[in-house]
């Protein structure tokens, strides 16, 4: 197999806050092949978004210390010069975020914002290229939308504009961080279908960050489940969701209301909350919320265990693969 498009090796993100070191992302390893659909799931505060931002060193403060390796197309983005990094941002890895209204500049017309993503084109051709990009994203009346200000568009339309901007430089990897959480189900479906279609057309890989397991089940190939800054389970979507090994993944699945579930069956919630990065538990990070936890879980960190081909889980109670 050719080397993966993105290979993250033991990525850790550390902040110094009030003289204390906190590590909200711990030893995360993940790979994305060219053209592949990969999902990262977990509750808020598990380090999903920070992991995604760290791929191009976009962490929220410059005081963050990034350790590990992020190989994108063979180069380590963590050691690149700022100039070289600028060439990867947008052209190599592009982002779409959750809240399009906060990501767009409210006082610039849509075409001016998209034009900023097209520095290689002569000015005269940019306007036309903008309309073409907007047409690809399926916006009704793209030339009107190009002249509009963001506030004149609906949430779904704004997210399409964000997509047009992300796709302007034909990236190899699109990182979509909760792109549809603010949208209702039918718009959500349209936007995700659109990402799928565009990714297929350009051979672009997609890294989708979400807490919605339904989206993962329907359209992604592989999934990484994150908890407390670590990857706790990973593998093919069909394996992980139909045969989850980690109690956290099982908990997430049981908490989702399903259409075919019997009515009035109470939903199973996961007791407690995600611990704060300032005080990760000593042993398995999930132990305080886990029904299966025993003495060892509270004192020793479980290793990642291969349970079936490339289905891995970080839990002492996972049965290792005996092949």
């Amino acid at each position: 197999m050719s080397p993966p498009l993105l290979q993250v090796d033991r990525l850790s993100v550390t902040f110094r806050r009030d003289g204390m070191l906190t590590t909200p992302v711990r030893d995360v390893s993940l790979t994305v092949q060219a053209g592949e659909r990969v999902a990262v799931v977990g509750e808020s505060g598990c380090g999903k978004s920070l992991t995604a931002l760290s791929l191009t060193r976009l962490s929220p403060t410059d005081r963050a210390r990034l350790q590990g390796r992020v190989l994108f197309d063979g180069t380590d983005t963590l050691t690149l010069s700022p100039d070289a990094l600028t060439r990867i941002r947008g052209r190599g890895i592009a982002y779409v975020f959750q809240d399009p209204s906060a990501s767009l500049n409210p006082v610039m017309r849509v075409h001016d914002q998209i034009a900023e993503c097209l520095p290689d084109l002569p000015c005269a051709e940019r306007r036309e290229a903008c309309v073409e990009l907007l047409t690809r994203t399926g916006l009704p009346d793209p030339s009107r939308a190009a002249r509009a200000f963001p506030c004149e568009l609906s949430g779904g339309q704004q997210q399409r504009v964000m997509l047009a901007m992300a796709l302007a430089a034909r990236p190899k990897l699109l990182v979509a961080d909760e792109p549809t959480t603010a949208l209702d189900v039918t718009t959500q479906r349209q936007v995700l279908d659109l990402i799928d279609t565009l990714a297929d057309a350009d051979g672009m890989a997609v890294l989708l960050i979400t807490h919605n397991l339904g989206l993962v089940a329907g359209r992604m190939t592989r999934v990484y489940v994150m908890y407390a800054g670590q990857v706790v389970e990973s593998g093919a979507v069909t394996d992980v969701l139909s045969n989850p090994r980690h109690p956290y993944t099982r908990g997430l699945l049981a908490a989702v209301p399903m259409l075919d579930a019997p009515r009035n069956a109470p939903l199973q919630d996961i007791p407690g909350t995600v611990p704060s990065p300032d005080a990760w538990p000593v042993g398995c990070a999930f132990a305080p919320r886990c029904v299966q936890a025993d003495a060892r879980c509270h004192t020793e960190q479980p290793p990642e265990i291969d349970s079936a081909d490339s289905h891995r889980s970080r839990c002492w109670h996972t049965q290792p693969c005996h092949s």
Binding site: G214, A217, V256, P257, R263, L267, D269
Partner: protein, 263 residues
């Protein structure tokens, strides 16, 4: 006698110089005491306008609302005040619907005091009961909304409603801003409140799976009208209207998605 009957309700927004926007066009339904009704539909279909009209925040342009056998628009001043107390609402943005400068204790005390639900001396005990009812520890009492999680804020919102001993709670997308595991806890809370206190619930959501899980009946709303109503299980298992099917297909459901992929 049904608790609430809505007959041919219209809500129209008029702006000078612009054509009127008809948000709700002739909706009729009735709700029995202790029953739960889910209203589903996309943004802009009129479900929130309907909710705002039910609690009296938005006047109806036409149609009648009957609560416990009395027409709401003919109620006396005192009668209308009682109606507003009996019908409570919980909003989507839990943190935003609480006063940021009041602690949880102040918020709950204020409701009980203003509506004279309890003599001053009995208020602290009632607040403890309310927290217990929504499953919050007493340690949150002195916290401000920003200091507690979104799920906890939503519980405080429910406690604030329950302080007024309502007959009907209208919950407008109460869980769509929350994480899945927190969502499960709030939905379980809604169900237990309905069962323990015999409350009627109107749950507004765009997530059909949520509605399926909680509600006895469901109404599918599109462009201001109910296009399909019925027992929740019947409507969602065998939808008759094309729009209901579109909505159902858009739900990202784990079970169905895996089934399609042959797992």
């Amino acid at each position: 006698m049904p608790l609430l009957t809505v007959q041919d309700l219209y809500v129209t927004y008029r702006t000078p110089g612009q054509p009127p926007v008809r948000a709700v066009c002739g909706v009729s339904f009735s709700l029995a005491a202790g029953e739960s009704l889910g209203i589903v539909g996309e943004s802009g279909c009129g479900k929130s306008s309907l909710a705002r009209t039910l609690i009296g925040l938005q006047p109806a342009s036409a149609g009648t609302l009957t609560f416990e056998g009395q027409a709401v628009d003919r109620l006396s001043r005192q009668g209308f005040r009682d109606y507003r107390r009996a019908v409570q609402m919980v909003f989507q943005d839990a943190t935003g619907s609480l006063n940021p400068r009041m602690t949880v204790r102040q918020t709950l005390h204020e409701v009980l005091r203003v509506h004279r639900m309890r003599p001053a001396a009995a208020i602290p005990q009632r607040v403890d009961e309310l927290l217990d009812l929504v499953g919050l520890p007493t340690t949150v009492l002195d916290a401000f909304p920003r200091e507690i999680s979104g799920g906890q804020c939503q519980r405080v919102s429910f406690a604030r409603c329950l302080a007024l001993e309502p007959r009907l709670i209208i919950a407008d997308e109460p869980v769509s801003a929350l994480d899945v595991s927190v969502q499960a806890r709030i939905l379980n809370l809604v169900r237990s409140l309905q069962q323990r206190l015999g409350l009627s619930i109107i749950l507004i959501s765009h997530d059909l799976a949520v509605v399926r899980n909680i509600c006895d009946r469901v109404a599918v709303m599109h462009d201001g009208v109910f296009v399909e109503t019925g027992i929740a299980a019947d409507v969602l298992d065998a939808p008759r209207h094309a729009y209901t099917r579109t909505l159902l297909e858009a739900v990202p459901d784990v079970g169905r998605a895996l089934q399609r992929r042959g797992v």
